[in-house]
Amino acid sequence: MSKMRFKSIEVNQFRQFRNEVVIHKLAPGLNVLAGNNEAGKSTLLQAVRAVLFDRYTSSVGDSFRPYGAKVSPKVCLVFDLNGIEYRLTKVFSRRRDGEATLEASDGRRWEGPAAEDYLAEVLGFSYAGRGGSRPELQGLAGLLWVEQSKAYEPVVLTDQSRRQVHAVFENEMRELLGGDQGEALHRRITALRGEYFDARGKPRGDYRRLQERETKLQKKLQDIRGELGEYEDKVDRLEQQQTDLRAYREDRVLERAEERVRLAKEATKRVADLQVRVQAGTEQLGRTNAESVAAKQAWENRHKLIAELKEAHEAERTAARAVGEQEAELTPLSERLSQLQNDLVELKSRKQNRDAELRLARDAVALRNLAAEHDHLDTRLKDARSVDAERRRCVSERDAIQVTEEVVFGLKKIERARDLTEERLRAVATRIEHRLESGAVVHFGEELIAGKGSVLLTRRTELRVKGVGQFSVIPGGEDLDVLRRKVEEQDHRLVQGLSELGIDSVAGAEELLRRWGDLDGRASQYAATLKGLAPEGLQAAEDQLSSVSVQHDGLRRKLGDNAGREFVLDDLERQVQTLQSQITAIESDCSDEETVVQKLREALAGFRAEMKSAARLAKNRASALDRIRSEAPDDELAQALREAERDGDVCSRNLEAAKQALYAENPEAVEVEIERSNRALVDIREEIEKLDRDVRDLKVELGALGQRGLAEEVASDEAEHAFASLQLGNANRRARALDLLQHTLEDALQRAKEAVAQPVTTKLVPYLRQLIPDAAPSVNEDLILMGIERGGAPEAFDNLSIGTREQLAVLIRLAYADLLSEAGVPVTLILDDALVNSDDERRERMKAILYQASKRYQVLLLTCHGREYRDTGGTFIRLGESVEWSERGGHVVQGIRQEAMEGETV
């Protein structure tokens, strides 16, 4: 495997480097050149590009010269290539001091343009015709050396770099892409298909015209076939019409239609004659009928008058009979009614007497009852008065006692309190027990005490002992006085209460209270007895007695002498009842009889009026009949009627015969038949005329058409169309074949292109997975990274973030470099701040990736973020920030301080 490695770079009088700057002992793998902004990283890269790709005599050299510098810009580059070390030195000047020297470790040496040409050949680049070199001329350096601020741009292969990359697997690519011949064949087939189809796949050119011609001929053929069809239809029609015409004539259809019309006309005339007959007969019958009706009417009127006269006589007789019958029926009924009325008067008189007797009897009974009641009431009143006097006495005694339960309760309460207080006084009183000798005269207060006993002292008490003198005993304690006063007070209240009641003890009070209760109970008992004897009170009882007494007296006076009479009340009541029943029965009979008699009388009056009316009517009818008989006797009328009826019969028979004849002719059928036969005749005439006309016209028309030879035209057009179809069929087959061929080639080419990109993709995938684990690259047949695919979704390169773009741009370069390196092409990767937009995590991954790549070829990473790349794992070279002057090896070194020691890795 051939390799390329930069070993040292020396720059003097180049842009910002006014003095010599030396970077030496660059490592074969990863080199990190760190320096702050303006430290000269990019200038260093520019110097490397210049010494390699710009001619030393190029005008661009002037732009390298620092402002006002007298000495020409000089760059010296030492590098290994395929095991040989080269030292390339250029002084950029178009003057005499300009030079280019290439010295090889194997002793070869080139100078001037020869050195530059050899270099271009070895490294595969070309010089710019005018001005400075451009990346597209710099071969792989243009591809693999990334300038600051361009890192995120899409990586495009220039012609030169493409050639160099393609050269790696040229044979495979040529194989896949079919070589020049494959391309030519593809173009040829595309062109051939283009003769048939346009860009949108629509037919074009001769092919389209062929299709149009075939369509046109098809249309023409259809049209001419249509014409021929019409012609043949007309021939058929003519044949048919001639056949029809012949049939009409052979069948004498017209003549038969005319005969039918003639017969129909005759039938119509017969019908018309009969209709006249029927009409005349009908009119005649009308007249005779009218006469007959008049005769009949006269005869009926005469009969009616005679009948009415007869009926009037009959009615008169009937009414007279009825009057007689009614009068005969009325007489006994009137007599019986009169008898009933007399009986009724007599019964009513008797009942009146019995009623007076019954009243007397009832009063007598009442008088006796009143007397008994008076006695009873009087006895009870007396008892009541006695009980009431007793009750009053008890009440009076009770009310004289003033003791009540409350009073007794109060006294008992005071007594209990005094006893209690007294007991307490005793308890606290001073007890003086004494056992006196007999004879001793001792006074305790006013009381003389003797013998054995005890005295309670509740107050100052004088003890006088005779012979001894007097002692004042003063019981001790304040309570004693209080208790003693309280006992006295309570005694006082008790005595006062008792005295108010006039008693001396509480027990007396309780006795009085019992006496009060006893009197009250007895008073109540008497009151109850009184209530039983006189519920309404004594006064009411007295009033009642008085009232009974008055009634009794009044009734007695009323009865007078009858007061002592004895009556049988029940008998009297029965007699009155019987009489009342008889009266009621006779009154009912009377009423019925009266109704019947009244009705008979009304009927009698009606019959009499009817008899009178019938007699008057009979008289009227008799006079009218006499009058008209004088004008026309009855037999004359009868004769006229018989004649009229006979005439009517004759007319009817005549009319019926005429109608039968008319019916037999079936006038409706005759009418329809004349219409039908006329219409048929017209139709047939028109049809025959039309057929004649049509046949004539068709013959003329077909004669003219026949000359055209339509069948031959059709056949000719068919042949022409068949030929066009044949041509079109051939063209279709060729067009389809070309279309298929072209599409098949396109598809195959597409697959080939995808296969071409495969090596790059294969190299890129491991890097990409390391950077973005779920992403897959999309590389086209030109080996350009078009984007990535994540989760099945394609993402175009331009749509990715700047950070991702610059990372991917580095990765695709690594893939190219890997391929080239494997193929023995000398590659070096230079990245000038190519990852400034990467986040920490991605930067870490990229550092690992770059380190891996640097195992295969040299990588120079220029950065202004030295700290972040300090741990990259490669050789770390810090470019000094301040201007430092130092002497080394006779050279003046400006601004660059190489921190890393030879072979040191960080």
Binding site: R174, E175, L176, L177, G178, G179, Q181, G182, A184, L185, H186, R188, I189, L192, L228, Y231, E232, K234, V235, D236, L238, E239, Q242, L698, K699, L702, G703, L705, G706, Q707, R708, G709, L710, A711, E712, A715, S716, E718, A719, E720, H721, A722, F723, L726, R733, R734, R736, A737, L738, D739, L740, L741, T744, L745, D747, A748, L749, R751, A752
Partner: protein, 375 residues
């Protein structure tokens, strides 16, 4: 004394040949009149007593007046009686080729238009011709029935002339319209029944002949191109019938299977063996599987024969062209071209693929173009 006549039919003057496009077709159409002329000359040469044309004289009733006139002109060489019978193509309708011929007044006196079923006496009454003209395109009844009831003198030759399908004798394809009883010769006491409609020559029943069309018009091997020279020696005796070839063009149909270059040689020799290439029409059905080189050589061979024959119709639907390893080597196909060839070969080998036929042609084109590029 015997009577001779020519029996012909189905001239179908005016017929076009849609399946033979272009000039060859036009030549075929014109040839039919020349053949009529040849018949007239033959009749004149053989001194026949009459020429009986058993229907379908014209392709259609709607042929042009010019065609009608040209037909009459073609018949001029024979001065004897012609009997022309309407067939289904030129049925004797009121308005027909026949009515127009009469109106044009171009019918020579010796030409009898037999468009009515009336007996025609010829040869001074020794021959009575009984025509059964079709007066409609299609008849369901047998128009020759009246032959049975027509009486003629003993010793008079009775010849029927009709157009239709003899019952029970023809293939079903002949159809059931315009039927003619196969016993008509016996029942009608005919010496000969001259028929038309069937385009090949055929003795279909006793003394009952189809003459066939005198000029072949389709790729069907049923002996077309003849007229019948009929000699009636004695009434009731069997006629002498001579087949005379008058056709000009020959129609040949070949089916050929090709597998390799040797097959091409055989094909070439077979086509050569047909002879008279200039008036031969060939329908060639090709089958087999060939490589692209053979296919290319086949096309070249066919092109050369197409220039020699009157017409060549080659049907190569059943012929598969598959690239052989040698073809592939010849094509020197690599990369995507080889991939495309393999795809197309796959399609062609897939009997169910809709593009199968196109794939074969595509391969052929590819082969040709690649060869062209290589040159």
């Amino acid at each position: 004394m015997s009577i001779t006549f020519l029996h012909t039919a189905d001239w179908q003057i005016g017929k076009q040949f849609a399946n033979v496009p272009g000039d060859p077709g036009a030549a075929l159409r014109l040839q039919r009149l020349d053949t009529v002329n040849a018949i007239a000359e033959l009749a004149q040469e053989r001194q026949v007593d009459a020429v009986l044309v058993a229907g379908d004289v014209f392709e259609d009733n709607a042929v042009s007046d010019e065609t009608l006139r040209r037909t009459m002109n073609a018949m001029v060489p024979f001065k004897g009686p012609w009997i022309l019978l309407p067939g289904n193509h030129d049925a004797g309708l009121t308005q027909s080729a026949w009515s127009r011929l009469r109106r044009l007044a171009v019918v020579p006196e010796n030409v009898i238009l037999a468009d009515r079923p009336d007996p025609i006496e010829l040869c001074q009454g020794r021959l009575v011709v009984l025509p059964a003209p079709l007066q409609r395109r299609h008849e369901v009844r047998d128009l020759t029935e009246w032959f049975d009831t027509f009486r003629s003198d003993i010793g008079i030759f009775r010849v029927g002339i009709a157009h239709g399908a003899v019952t029970n004798r023809l293939p079903e394809a002949a159809g059931a319209q315009n039927p003619i009883a196969d016993t008509r010769v016996e029942t009608g006491n005919l010496d000969y029944l001259a028929l038309g409609d069937w385009h090949g020559m055929l003795e279909v029943a006793k003394r009952t002949w189809y003459a066939g069309t005198p000029e072949p018009d389709r790729f069907k091997a049923n002996e077309p191109g003849n007229v019948l020279l009929v000699e009636l020696v004695e009434a009731g005796a069997a006629p002498k019938v001579e087949q005379v070839f008058v056709g000009h063009y020959r129609w040949a149909q070949l089916t050929f299977e090709i597998m390799d270059d040797q097959g091409l040689s055989v094909l070439d020799s077979q086509l050569a063996a047909l002879g008279e290439s200039g008036r031969t029409l060939v329908r060639l059905k090709l089958a087999g599987t060939v490589d692209l080189g053979t296919r290319q050589r086949l096309d070249e061979l066919l092109d050369s024969w197409r220039a020699r024959l009157h017409f060549l119709d080659d049907d190569d639907e059943a012929l598969l062209a598959q690239p052989s390893p040698e073809d592939i080597a010849t094509l020197a196909a690599t990369g995507f071209v080889r991939d495309a060839i393999e795809t197309l070969v796959g399609i062609e080998g897939d009997a169910t693929h809709l593009d199968r036929g196109d794939a074969g042609r595509a391969l052929q084109i590819l082969y040709l173009e690649q060869r062209g590029l290589q040159r």
